[in-house]
Symmetry: C2
């Protein structure tokens, strides 16, 4: 699992002159190994530090809390990656996750025969653990590699695209439910609970769900968690959904109406449908992210509508928001295999808003739309 990710990473480290590295960012480690611990209730109370992935001349060692060992699927069959755990909770003695993790890291790093600097994810590695590698390797020089994987993560592997498609099918389901249930008198949270329950019943397990479910008359009606605000007769409701399954995120948005939308809303909705179609038409390998951003903003501005204050889109994978970011400064060119979101919108604060969002797989000659949810007007 995720062998291509490790191969790309090994090449990147070699280019940077590194034969050893310690990864400590949860997203790096998910991407490199498929490690997928539950996230719904926040961090485990028993960890002694971040999960770690030690790279040493072609082989990887993943070090995680014993309670998270079953979150590493199919680990028996990884010739280049070994799993090691440390003890977290036991009823037999006081909890010492921190020292236990340090001790395991000491053993793992101690078997390193190489020399030279060690790459470290410095934003996530704790200094106690850094001291361990320093100590074991005799005052080794550490070199920061925090942002090295972000560009590699942009182009998805076939294995990742399968996981992403599974998630887009779930957010599509969520949108079918939203379209069916939204009506005056429901609250945002009622709609949300219906969507979330349907998704979890579909797959037979808990699924984390983001992002927004907001009525149009909110002052900030761009996004936000669902609350106890009632859907009014003439309301728009923006529903923006991410599911997180297999450690991967989906993302998609549509705008629904409590009843038949008014003139202004209808016109804006049609305009945003056109803006999204226009945005999709721009996607192909080689086009720069900020070119898409500029053109889509221009499209909306030319039609006399307020331009959305957020990004035009972003990549998605082990996070819900990653490179390539479709934003004004970003000159990164799209490439086949990237999976991106495009999400133009227009908002009248305190009145109504419209946003529509599709996910796209960049192909050799354009894009495949991965989301199938209906985005046309209701009513």
């Amino acid at each position: 699992m995720h062998a291509q990710q490790r191969q790309r990473t090994q090449e990147r480290l070699a280019q940077g002159g590194l034969t050893r590295a310690l990864f400590a960012d949860i997203h790096s480690i998910k991407w490199l190994t498929g490690f997928n611990p539950p996230i719904q209730l926040g961090p485990s109370f028993f960890v002694g530090g971040p999960p770690l992935l030690w790279y040493d001349n072609g082989t990887f060692t993943l070090i995680v809390l014993d309670g998270h060992a079953d979150s590493v699927a199919a680990f028996g069959a990884q010739p280049d990656c070994t799993l090691v755990t440390y003890e977290g909770y036991t009823i037999q003695k006081p909890i010492t996750g921190g020292p236990n993790l340090s001790a395991v890291l000491r053993d793992v790093v101690g078997s390193s025969a190489g020399g030279g600097p060690v790459g470290v994810e410095a934003r996530s590695l704790t200094f106690l653990l850094h001291d361990v590698i320093n100590d074991v390797l005799g005052g080794v020089t550490s070199s920061t590699i925090d942002d090295w994987l972000a560009p590699l993560r942009m182009v998805k592997t076939a294995e990742e695209i399968v996981k992403l498609r599974d998630n887009f099918a779930l957010s599509d389901l969520g949108h079918r439910v939203a379209r069916q249930v939204i009506k005056p008198g429901l609250r945002e949270i009622d709609i949300w609970a219906e969507i979330h329950g349907s998704i979890q019943r579909e797959v037979g397990e808990r699924v984390p769900l983001g992002n927004d479910c907001v009525v149009g008359y909110r002052q900030n009606n761009i996004g936000g968690w669902p609350g106890d605000l009632l859907v009014r007769e003439d309301d728009s409701v923006i529903v923006d959904l991410s599911t997180v399954r297999h450690g991967y995120w989906s993302d998609s948005c549509a705008t629904y109406y409590a009843t038949k939308p008014g003139e202004a809303q209808s016109a804006a909705h049609r305009m945003i449908e056109d803006a999204l179609a226009f945005a999709i038409s721009l996607v192909r390998p080689g086009v720069q992210a900020n070119e898409i951003d500029r053109k889509v903003r221009g499209f909306i501005e030319a039609r006399g509508y307020p331009v959305y204050p957020h990004h035009t889109g972003h990549g998605v994978g082990v996070t819900g928001h990653e490179e390539p970011r479709i934003v004004p400064y970003n000159e990164v060119p799209l490439a086949a295999g990237m999976v991106i979101l495009l999400e133009p919108g227009t908002y009248v604060p305190g009145a109504w808003g419209v946003r529509l969002e599709d996910a796209l797989l960049v192909t050799e000659d354009g894009a495949e739309v991965l989301t199938t949810h209906e985005k046309g007007m209701m009513g």
Copy 2:
């Protein structure tokens, strides 16, 4: 908000000879400030490191991601605690949360006029941030304070007990729903979705929900996430619920039946009811945690049932599992103001299980039961 926590901490640091400290553990910081960022979807993609709380001679400075600023309730009125944010995501330039956090920490620590060592939460502090304080304060000695707050967190303040009571009311609601809906043919996830939806509708917002929803015929039927396993005609179903609201956890368990329970199950259920009542009768200030643990295990053993392999109970607060742990090694004496769970059970792997759990506030002369969910047999 949480001023008493900061007062206790200041005293503890002074006892340890420290007038400056840097907290980096999310649970410490929640407890010290009321900081309560969303947890449902895992860590924010835009943080540059952990949230930080700098203590310097009587005043605290909380440093968090700008996107988390509204997760610090009522911060205007804290004379001893200031809020500072650093920039995370913007569409105007590349994301540099790490350097931004370092820069803010540099400013905050730079105003320190004191000398002497700095206490640090070494298991959570990243080494980049440790370098900042080292650098700004000129090679300061850092002293590890990772476990200093755990004993202070045991006795709850009046403010915390209000937050905990709110959560116990929600898990009580969840149990009412469970008791109502459980029947043959439903799956664990169906039951879960009903419970979770009801709780969220009740409060009008999203609420994270733990812990277990398992049918009796699972091989490991002690606990686990709900799956697509069907409730069978003669099944027991253990439902163990934690809600997380205001940053505080509830916890409570009951065992339900698909139909009228059989002889053996009925007898075991009654025995565990007695065991829980016995456990509660032991709670008073001064009794050692492991005395309760030993006596409750003995109660079950004396009746010829398999003794649960897990803890007898634990504390609860900003985490769902904290001191005082009611386990064999723990000699800590209970004290008025502690909030603990007691959860005896007995399990026949692959067949059925029973666990019942109540929450207790230790009072001057005994205990107040904080949970009101019905735990008697169904059918």
